[in-house]
């Protein structure tokens, strides 16, 4: 039973890790505080669930469509900020609010059950974990290679020193659009995968997911640091798994599930306070 709990925590942690990557890319590489994942995650779920239950598409293709759509939302956030000079967070919040209505339109009803649809996942938690690990490897490995290329280096320079990047003739616009597309697509991927794992999509899914992802990222960074690209890239994964286990622990100590958001916020604030005292290298 406990093993099941831990495995389930790891499974949830791996999904959360994908969200955490969608936060890592804009926050850490582009210095773009992006909140789009809050809307992109349920949008990804809504599109995937609708494709599976009404259109009967293949699960992989459904997830692909989710990513395409949520990646486009990321591009919209980027464009709203770049063209209208609207604060990055505000742009993300506005789009996330709008996504809620879109989700309802897409789904046609507040929730969709997927028990009779084909899915990428089975009922066996261990196989599902292996599949998710493979998906994460397909995210982390190419990302790590990309960041070591000429384009990747210029991409990082955008977030580290914008004035410098402009003088080096690096396009802020193109790199921001690329980064937010990736971020949006990853959040949509996580949404599309979780509805297949749960066999269920609910319109209220993912409220506060951004805070969970951010908490994971910060916990990971605090534990393994950000000194090298490898460490920065492993931080979301390690952070998400640890964070999910902390949550499981908190629940087993008798915390009500409804208290979890308060608990998460407190963790985020705690980590921020710790960092203010001892900045991580």
């Amino acid at each position: 039973m406990t093993i099941d709990l831990i495995l389930n925590g790891i499974l949830q942690g791996l999904i959360l890790a994908i969200v955490s990557y969608s936060i890592l890319i804009p926050f850490r590489f582009l210095d773009f505080a992006d909140l789009t994942s809050e809307g992109a995650y349920p949008l990804g779920g809504a599109i995937c669930a609708t494709c599976l239950s009404f259109a009967g598409l293949s699960p992989i293709f459904a997830v692909f469509l989710s990513m395409l759509a949520t990646g486009s939302v990321g591009i919209c956030t980027a464009l709203i900020h770049l063209k209208f000079k609207i604060n990055t967070m505000l742009a993300g919040i506005i789009l996330s609010a709008m996504a809620y209505s879109v989700n309802l339109r897409i789904m046609g009803k507040p929730n969709i059950a997927l028990f009779n649809c084909s899915a990428m996942f089975s009922l066996d938690i261990a196989t599902n974990i292996v599949k998710l690990v493979m998906i994460l490897a397909l995210i982390i490995f190419p990302l790590s290679l990309f960041l070591r290329t000429d384009f990747g280096l210029r991409f990082r320079a955008v977030g580290l020193n914008k004035d410098f990047a402009v003088k080096q003739k690096i396009s802020i616009e193109k790199n921001t659009i690329l980064g937010l597309f990736l971020a949006g697509a990853l959040a949509g991927l996580a949404g599309g995968l979780i509805v297949q794992i749960q066999s269920y999509m609910d319109i209220g899914m993912g409220v506060g997911i951004l805070i969970h992802g951010l908490a994971s990222l910060m916990i990971g960074e605090t534990i393994i640091g950000v000194k090298t690209i490898n460490r920065q890239l492993l931080a979301p994964l390690i952070g998400a798994i640890i964070y999910q286990q902390i949550q499981g622990l908190a629940l087993s100590f008798g915390l009500a599930p409804s208290d979890l958001k308060f608990f998460t916020g407190a963790i985020v604030l705690l980590v921020i306070a710790m960092r203010a005292k001892n900045p991580i290298a």
Partner: protein, 244 residues
């Protein structure tokens, strides 16, 4: 080659134009020193040349890309990237980015850094933030030379450094300018440097070029002459305020 024709530039809220009909032609390899009081329009002129500002009117022709080094040591480099990554960024600008690992530049970059001769190549994998201000400014200058531009804009690039470092950086800059035959504009407040370096000298006053000394005359210039010129124009501004 760099040519400016009747460039004017104003900023909102400032009554008089900062640049008021500047015309200047620099041949390839010409090294022009720019002097003038604070607020005379020197930095604005450089920013027009680099493309950071757009002129209100007038024409500008640039043959080749403009690379620049400013006064602020924090702006010329990315502090959390390593020495290698910083210099690689300038190399990439020269060669156009590819889907290849930037590590391929490592040997070339070490060779370039060795030429400076102060042992910075040992710090190749350290973040720039671990270097001193002077060392960072030298790297920023190296990056400007390394980025493949044909026009170089230096805005008091040695001013934040200690005297020894200033001389070292100036010597390194001049050597590289000669080697690459760069068309150069250098702003300085140091009259000795203005005399010693370059083959042309212009002085700005209220957004206009008021003095333009070419090669043969410039070599005869003395610091005293420059100071006199300075006072001739600037005292008109300073005397009424009684600060002189």
């Amino acid at each position: 080659m760099l040519e400016l024709k009747q460039i004017t530039k104003s900023f909102p809220g400032i009554f008089e134009p900062v640049l008021n009909g500047i015309s200047l032609r620099l041949a390839v390899g010409e090294f022009c020193v720019v002097i003038g009081a604070n607020g005379s329009g020197k930095s604005t002129l450089l920013k027009i040349i680099s493309g950071e500002y757009l002129a209100d009117s007038g024409e500008i022709t640039r043959q080749g890309a403009v690379c620049e080094v400013g006064q602020d040591v924090n702006k010329g480099t990315v502090s959390s990237l390593t020495l290698l990554e910083n210099v690689a960024l300038s190399q990439i600008r020269k060669e156009k980015p590819k889907f290849a690992f930037y590590n391929r530049f490592k040997q070339d970059i070490i060779k370039e850094i060795k030429k400076i001769g102060i042992g910075l190549e040992k710090l190749i994998n350290q973040p720039i933030s671990s270097l001193s201000g002077g060392q960072r400014q030298i790297i920023a200058t190296l990056m400007a030379f390394n980025s493949g531009g044909q026009i170089l804009a230096l805005d008091e690039h040695t001013s934040a450094l200690d005297p020894k470092m200033q001389i070292m950086l100036m010597e390194y800059s001049v050597k590289s300018i000669m080697e690459q035959n760069l068309t150069t504009l250098m702003i300085t407040h140091k009259m000795d440097d203005a005399i010693k370096y370059g083959n042309r000298l212009i002085m700005l006053n209220k957004g206009k070029i008021v003095v333009d000394i070419k090669e043969s005359e410039k070599s005869k210039l003395k610091t005293q002459d420059l100071l006199e010129m300075f006072h001739k124009y600037e005292d008109q501004v300073l005397l009424p305020g009684g600060t002189k």
